[in-house]
């Protein structure tokens, strides 16, 4: 794999993660448990969509095929998406949404922090802008996971169920593959596997405070970041997200 292809793949992974998660979070609009959470969810979604514009914008530039960030977001089909399986999981209840957010945020801060040292200054620049938002996101999501985990019997049960359900999707974020190897060799991005020990420590500390038990099984579903096998959920999301661009090709909005 040449470096241009690998870099494009890597940038799509970063941008598709924020796009798909940002979209999922935006599905909560007007339906949160309290008004403050309506505001927080919209804010997180907005940050993630803003980051998507930067990542996919750079991906399009690297690709050099005349596509734009919007073309990548709105005109690729499922198999061309490079988002991790975790972020395309449906919202479920508020607990499941929060748990998905927390697991993503803890990984996201780690990867963005490492990317600030990227040999590609464009990547380092996006990471530096994004990490400020991601740090706020993890502060909020960790705090809520703790409060809901150690809240009532019902909330504890819901948060444990959310962790059990989402845990098998966490491992994919730390998988290494030839794209990652090429990025690491060029000094553009760290090997994902190298981030795991520190992230695990943070997750263990938060779950302990939340009185939640991390499943012992480290089994991980794979296929999102490589695009080889997404879940069935992603296609439905795209039918909605891409509908206008698909129904009225060539229009500007």
């Amino acid at each position: 794999m040449d470096q241009q292809t690998a870099t494009f793949e890597f940038l799509c992974r970063m941008g598709d993660n924020t796009l798909v998660l940002g979209h999922r979070v935006s599905e909560w609009c007007g339906k949160a448990p309290v008004l403050e959470e309506d505001i927080a969810l919209a804010n997180v979604a907005l940050d993630l969509i803003g980051q998507t514009q930067m990542w996919l914008g750079l991906a399009a530039e690297v690709e050099g095929a005349g596509r734009t960030a919007d073309d990548l977001a709105m005109l690729r089909d499922v198999w061309d998406f490079r988002s991790a399986l975790l972020v395309e999981q449906p919202n479920g209840d508020f607990g499941q949404t929060l748990m998905r957010q927390y697991l993503f945020d803890q990984w996201h801060v780690a990867v963005l922090t490492a990317l600030m040292e990227s040999a590609d200054p464009r990547v380092a620049d996006i990471a530096a802008k994004s990490v400020k938002e991601a740090r706020y996101h993890v502060e909020r999501s960790a705090d809520l996971v703790i409060r809901l985990g150690d809240g009532t019997e019902e909330s504890h049960g819901r948060m444990q169920a959310a962790l059990d359900k989402l845990w098998p999707f966490f491992g994919e974020l730390f998988d290494d593959d030839p794209v990652d190897a090429a990025m690491a060799e060029a000094g553009i991005a760290p090997l994902p596997s190298g981030l795991r020990a520190d992230v695990d420590q943070e997750v263990a500390a938060v779950m302990a405070q939340a009185t939640l038990v991390i499943p012992a099984d480290r089994f991980a579903h794979r296929g999102g970041k490589t695009g080889i096998r997404h879940s069935e959920h992603l296609g439905h999301m795209l039918t909605q997200m891409q509908w206008l661009q698909r129904a009225y090709p060539g229009a500007t909005w």
């Binding site: 935006s26 609009c29 448990p33 008004l35 919209a42 998507t52």
Partner: protein, 325 residues
């Protein structure tokens, strides 16, 4: 305006106190939460501010309907920012109403069981992307007409909330108009969508000001208290006069055959909306009343476990701190 048909309360306070209160208002002084105020003034304001707050909250739904279908990343981001602003407006307004002695939870319950209202406009569906333009252009445009003068309203917390809200609302209106410009100057299908949105939202936007209030004693009391700054008809006229040239600029047709410039009054003559429809919508028979209230009730009910858990956690934490001392 997001408050319609707000009944003002008759007041039975001591005439001397009432006169002194009126003198303060006439002198342009702001009334603050700890100041003495007539019961009628307090109750009318709770109703009006509450209705405005509820409108911001319910108003998230017709726009949320399009966030997941926004056509570009930028449009999605702008819409998210707008909806976030609206939830924020709800928060300031509930805060302003709380200073009058009613809690946000109490007001929420009154919204959910139908005792309190929100603006009729949010009971209309958003059917195409052009509706996101029309809502910003016409609905936010109509809201601003009333909210700008309310920055000078007599109740301090309400006036101050309105200053912040107006800044954001005028940004929303410009965004809406920007969508309309893109659509009106776009493909034939986009132009059709833009015209269709104007056709559906024109009269409901005119209804936002409420029926003619020239004979209403309630309205007179609210105006004397500077809770209401202009009559409904004045504001509606101003809105039409401002909006018609914008529609012309867009190359769109206002769906009113009687619309004509009246040189003598220096404004447009225009058709009244169908007031029977307006009263139907207020009674709960608008196209989306049932869906909107169901959505809000579901959000509230589904979120009960979260609110309970946050309270339980806070209590546990407080108890642990006490035990540790």
């Amino acid at each position: 305006m997001y408050a319609q048909m707000v009944k003002s309360e008759a007041t039975q306070d001591d005439p001397a106190k009432l006169a002194a209160f009126q003198a303060r208002i006439d002198a342009g002084e702001k009334v603050e939460p700890k100041d003495w105020m007539p019961e009628g003034y307090r109750k009318t304001l709770i109703r009006q501010i509450g209705q405005h707050a509820h409108s911001e909250i319910v108003g998230q739904l017709p726009e949320g309907n399009w966030i997941t279908r926004a056509p570009t990343l930028e449009r999605k981001a702008i819409l998210l920012a707008k909806v976030q602003d609206e939830a924020g407006h709800g928060l300031y307004l509930y805060g302003a109403a709380e200073t009058l002695g009613v809690s946000r939870d109490e007001m929420t319950e009154m919204l959910l069981d139908g005792r309190m209202k929100y603006s009729s406009i949010f009971n209309y569906p958003t059917l195409t992307w052009a509706d996101m333009g029309a809502v910003g252009w016409l609905v936010d445009g109509a809201a601003i007409m009333n909210q700008v003068p309310l920055q000078r309203t007599s109740f301090g917390p309400y006036a101050r909330a309105m200053v912040r809200i107006c800044k954001e609302e005028s940004f929303h209106q410009r965004q809406g108009f920007d969508i309309m410009m893109k659509m009106a100057g776009g493909t034939p299908a986009q132009r059709r969508m833009a015209q269709n949105a104007l056709d559906r939202f024109w009269f409901p936007a005119l209804m936002m000001f409420g029926p003619s209030d020239k004979d209403s004693v309630h309205s007179a009391q609210s105006m004397a208290w500077k809770i209401k700054m202009n009559t409904n008809d004045e504001l509606r006229q101003k809105f039409v006069d401002q909006t018609v040239p914008q529609a012309e600029y867009l190359g769109l047709t206002v769906p009113d055959d009687t619309l004509a410039w009246n040189e003598a009054k220096g404004g447009y003559d225009f058709a009244e909306p169908d007031w029977a429809e307006f009263f139907d919508v207020l009674k709960g028979n608008g196209p989306c009343n049932v869906d909107r209230l169901e959505a809000r009730n579901k959000a509230w009910d589904d979120g009960a476990w979260v609110r309970d858990a946050l309270m339980a956690h806070a209590e546990k934490h407080a108890n642990r701190e006490v035990a540790a001392e």
